[in-house]
Every structure is written in C-alpha cells, then in structure tokens.
Amino acid sequence: MRFRAKIVDLACLNHFSRVINTIAKLAKTCTLRLTVSKLYFILSDKVANGGVSLWCELCQGNFFDEFQIEGVAAEHNEIYLELVPENLSRALKTAQSAKAVKIKLSNKHCPCLRVAVELPSLSRSSRIVTHDIPVGVIPRRLWNDFREPSVTDFDVSIYLPVLKTMKSVVERMKNLSNSIVIEANLRGEMNLKIETDLVSITTHFKDLGNPPWASEDGGQSSTQGGDLEGVAEARIDIKKLQQLLAGQQVNPTKALCNIVNKKIVHFILLHEDVSLQYFIPALA
C-alpha cells in the first residue's frame, strides 16, 4: 500500500485547507478514502455521531500536482484510512505561504500520513516542517460500511436560501431551542421553526426554487396519499445544522436539500471542485 501526493500551487493549497477546515468542523474522526482519481471524506451514521452522515468528494486532479496511489490490491486500487481531520487541518495551517506540501503514507512505528511542508527561507536550503498524523488503516472487509448513502425517495427537494441569512437565523434559534423544524414545499418555500415554552419563531423563505428533478420524484413518493401536495418537514438537532452552516467558509455554487418527511434531511453543497453531502436524521 503506497500513497504520495504533492501540491505546489498556493491557491490549490489554500482551497484544500479550506475543505479540510470544513470537514474538521463537522467530524471529530472520519474515513479518508483514496482512489486514483478522487479523495473522499466519509462519516457513517453511527449512533456516536448522533446519526449524521457525511460524504465529501474531491477530484484529486483539481488540487494535486502529483498523486500516486497503490491500493491494497490490484483490483482494489483504493486505500481507506481513519483519521482525525483536525490534525490535518492544523498541519495545513503551517502551510499558508508554503512553496510545496507533500503528503505520504508511511509506517515507521505506526501508520501515519506524513505531511511535509516546504517553507520559503532566506538561506539556500529550504525549511521543511513535517507533521506525522496517526491514521488507522481500514481493512478491505469493512469497506462496505462506507458506501455512499443515497436518499432517492425524498418528498421535497429545494434550493437553500442565502447561507449567510440561514446561518444568522439558525444561530439565534440555537440559543433558544435544541431542535429545529425544516419545512419545505415544491413551490420554492421553506420555513425554519422552533417552539419552546418561552417562544415560538418561524422564519419564512420564499422564491427559493426547486431543482428540476423535484417534481418527478415528488409524485412517485407520496405514499401517504395524494393530499400531501409536496410538503415535507423534519425536526432535527439544531446544533448539527448550525455546525454545517458555520463550517461553510466559501459560498457554494449550488446548495440544496432533500427532505424525507419526518425521516431525514439530506444537504448537498456543491463547489466547483468539491461536493459535500450531509445527512441529518429526524429526531425521534
């Protein structure tokens, strides 16, 4: 099993750091899956995570100048690692003005991702700061646990409002309640609601637009009878939603969510070269 990669372009490096920072805000530990063409950051919906799942996909070609991988076996040219993204985030913090960053899988005393940051220096030899980030190698028999989750039979699919506004509102609501209800329909309207002993607050968003596939599936999935008219809601943990919104450092190109009534909310945030999916289950 071998892996080595190198980033030389500063813009790519900063972009990669931003992605890692976002992941670090969403998961204490996660799985890093490396293939020939892509990197995936995965969090499966174990009870320990509060049931949330994360699936973040990057095309390595958009970030790395060199990328070589030899997986566990020829037919399975992939590597699955368990790591703490905060460690990677901190290592990359030292690389803000780096000349190059090399990442390599090494196994000196225990499996590690060795991140070597080459910094500019006044003398002829460059300064290199090396971080060894401990990782766990996930054996092939467990790879099935990390398949991409899919929510095909959603009730409503809708574009998210301006994230900045959504973030302000959710942050205030978080002071007042532990759970929040997201409600949306196929007419581009979304409500965020909280209700406690002291107060109830509803924020109404209009004209958000529904993605083109929304109405196709909406019709197929109305198992509760036709009078739903394409409305769905779910009550979710407000902290999880706030973490997702707070972690967005750059405005996504597209942001939308799919809601399965009273079951789960599936957020999809797309940037040019990164896609992030976050699944928050409804509270019991």
Partner: protein
C-alpha cells in the same frame, strides 16, 4: 417613542407585560447583529392583551420571521413615590467622575454613605469596610459637576448591594443626576446616548438603610 417608531398605537392607557429579555433580544437580532450596508431590518410589534403572546414580525431582504413570545404575570412595580417637587438636594455630574469612584468602592462595606450639603464637604461618598473608613470628597467647583443645588445637609446610607446593579448604567452613561428627598430616598438618573445618537434615561430608586443614626459624618 416618536424618535424610534414610525407608527405607535396603544389602545389602552397603559399596557404592562412581562417577558424574558434575552429571548426578546434573540428575536430582535434574528437576522444577525452586524448591520450590513444596504441591509435593513423592518420590525412590527403587537400585543393583543392579557393572555396573548407578544408578536414580533421582522423582515429583511424578503425573508420574514414571526416570533411569538409568551408573556408572564407582571410583577408589582414598587412605587417609590419620588416626586421632583419633594427633591431636597440635587447634583448633576459627568459620569466619568462617578465611574472611578464606584470602581474603587470598598466592597467590604455594607453601605455607601452619601452626604450632600450646601456647605463643606458638599458631596461626599463614604464606605466603612474591614480595612477602615474611606471618604471621597468632590470639590464644589469641580469641572465634573454640571449642576449643584443643595439646600440642606443630608447624610444617608444605602446598602451597597442594592446600588451595585446601577454601575452597569453608570458605565454606559455620559451624565448622572443624584437627587434625594426629605425621607432620604435616592434617585439616580443616567443619561445614555446610544450608537445612533438617541438619548434615553435609566432611573434607579433606592431607599435609605433604616438602621442608621442620622447626622453621622
């Protein structure tokens, strides 16, 4: 109210309701606290009467938030019956003069003694703590004193724990007026100018500490 609201209609002589202040603040700032250039939030507030929640409607950029804040039984408001015609002594000074004094008050003292007089020591703050007594005198002609109307020598003691909350208003204010009536009731009025330049007043009333012999200096 005319300085703050574009419309203001109250259908009864006075409406009193009790609500949680931090909830109100969270609702008013639901769209965030930083004011972006060009973005303004509109607010409409209504209350139908006893038993109904306080309703707030806020709008910013086409997004509408509706808040229903549950109201509680209002406490009885203490009426100190402090009337400006009964004022015996009055001093208006700039808050910065009082801020330093209050910051240095000996908190081991149970009371703050205030002496106001047309004669020396004019205006004195005294404490009696574990280390001893301290007296802070303000000269009659101090720049900090804007108005000095003392007709009678009065010495009153007030529990320091009761006056402590007023230091928050003192910190925000630019001027403070100190008045006492014949019974020794104290009125502190703080003039506060907010970021938009609007002026508002916060008033504190405090009754004198009763187990005290008057005339003690």
């Amino acid at each position: 109210q005319a300085e703050i609201f574009q419309e203001f209609t109250v259908q009864e002589e006075s409406v009193i309701l009790r609500i949680n202040l931090s909830v109100l603040l969270d609702c008013l700032t639901i769209f965030g606290t930083s004011s972006l250039p060009g973005a303004s939030t509109a607010l409409r507030m209504c209350y139908r009467g006893y038993g109904y929640p306080l309703m707030l409607f806020l709008e910013e950029g086409g997004v509408v938030t509706v808040c229903k804040i549950k109201t509680q039984e209002p406490d009885e408001l203490l009426d100190f019956d402090f009337c400006s015609t009964n004022v015996v002594n009055k001093i208006i000074l700039q808050s910065e003069g009082l801020r330093e004094a209050f910051a240095e008050l000996d908190m081991t003292s149970e009371v703050l003694q205030i002496t106001m007089s047309p004669d020396k020591p004019y205006f004195r703050l005294s404490t009696f703590g574990n280390a001893g007594s301290t007296h802070l005198d303000y000269p009659r002609d101090s720049d900090l004193i804007e108005a000095f109307h003392c007709n009678q020598t009065q010495t009153n003691r007030y529990k320091i724990s009761l006056l402590k909350p007023s230091t928050k208003a003192l910190a925000l204010s630019c001027k403070v007026s100190i008045r006492t009536d014949a019974q020794g009731f104290l009125s502190l009025q703080y003039m506060i100018r907010n970021e938009d330049g609007q002026i508002c007043f916060v008033e504190y009333y405090c009754c004198p500490d009763e187990d005290v012999a008057e005339g003690e200096l």
